[in-house]
Symmetry: C2
Subunit: 154 residues, 2 copies
DNA sequence: CAGGAATCATTGGACTTCCCCACGATCTTC
DNA sequence: GAAGATCGTGGGGAAGTCCAATGATTCCTG
């Protein structure tokens, strides 16, 4: 029995699957999987990589500040930083100016791991966008950036 | 003309946030939230809405087939259909041709709820893509569709 | 300066998605 | 008929996201 022909008629499901939210969700799931697999060799998850990068950029920074930048829940930030600190990539130091805060800094090992992960993540993203020409990739990124930055000004 | 960054990139976080996987993930999260809030009034979750729509399109259809179309785990499909059936939106009937299968069909109430949800979901997506002109929205959708359908042709 | 509001890090719990395994019933193929 | 695959249904678990609450601390305001 041959498998059914590809459905191209207008219908409820086609309607759903043509919704931007559905499509962008599927693409996001694939991109997440690709990058996660790429940096898995470094022992880091997506958010751990992102937090490591954010820490490297913003120097000594409080956890809450990291959470705001990356849209990560404070609870999850604790676990992420625990893992990064156990791996020796990041350091938590009491902030002398505000004893509520932890001043998070990147260790040299953290910077080395970050450099490796950045290359791996970039390769994974090239794979994700392989169907598009470089010019189309720029267009896609520009549109996504506008959609992203419009509601939550940054 | 963006060229690849050297290993010692000056801004790791900006690098991460400019990755397509990150950007598309943020947009997907926002889209998911918008649509979820929109159809929450109908008592449906995202996947329940999608399954309802898929059932409406493919007429009497087996659960496994629905799961394959929507990339939903068979275990989760059971729970989704249980909820839809308890809400009177969907009907499970033994398939006379293959008594292993359940022929899932949409009830009239299901079609009514689907129509309402479709309008709500569409409104939420318009809100998501509001920063773009209609033409830009079409471009974005076309690019996303190509990225989505390239690796797993369906 | 005192007291209330806000912030910080942390913990707890709930929900969702995805994965592996297993079972009985049923269909397909040899 | 027998072997293997498929279907629906469960159990259990890992991971990600979100909300609520708590004790310590800082900031704001009167």
């Amino acid at each position: 029995m041959p498998k059914p022909l590809s459905p191209s008629s207008p219908s409820p499901l086609a309607h759903i699957q043509s919704l931007p939210s559905w499509l962008v969700g599927r693409v996001a799931a694939r991109g997440r999987g690709l990058v996660a697999d790429a940096i898995a060799g470094e022992g880091l998850k997506l958010m751990q990589h992102a937090v490591l990068a954010a820490t490297a950029e913003y120097g000594p920074v409080a956890q809450a500040e990291l959470g705001r930048r990356l849209a990560v829940d404070p609870k999850d930030m604790v676990g992420i930083l625990n893992h990064l600190q156990d791996a020796g990539l990041v350091l938590r130091t009491p902030d002398p100016a505000d004893r509520r805060k932890n001043a998070v800094t990147v260790t040299p090992q953290g910077e080395a791991a970050l450099a490796r992960c950045a290359a791996l993540a970039e390769a994974a993203n090239e794979q994700l966008l392989a169907p598009l020409t470089p010019g189309e990739q720029d267009v896609l990124m520009g549109l996504l950036r506008r959609v992203h930055e419009a509601p939550a000004s940054f």
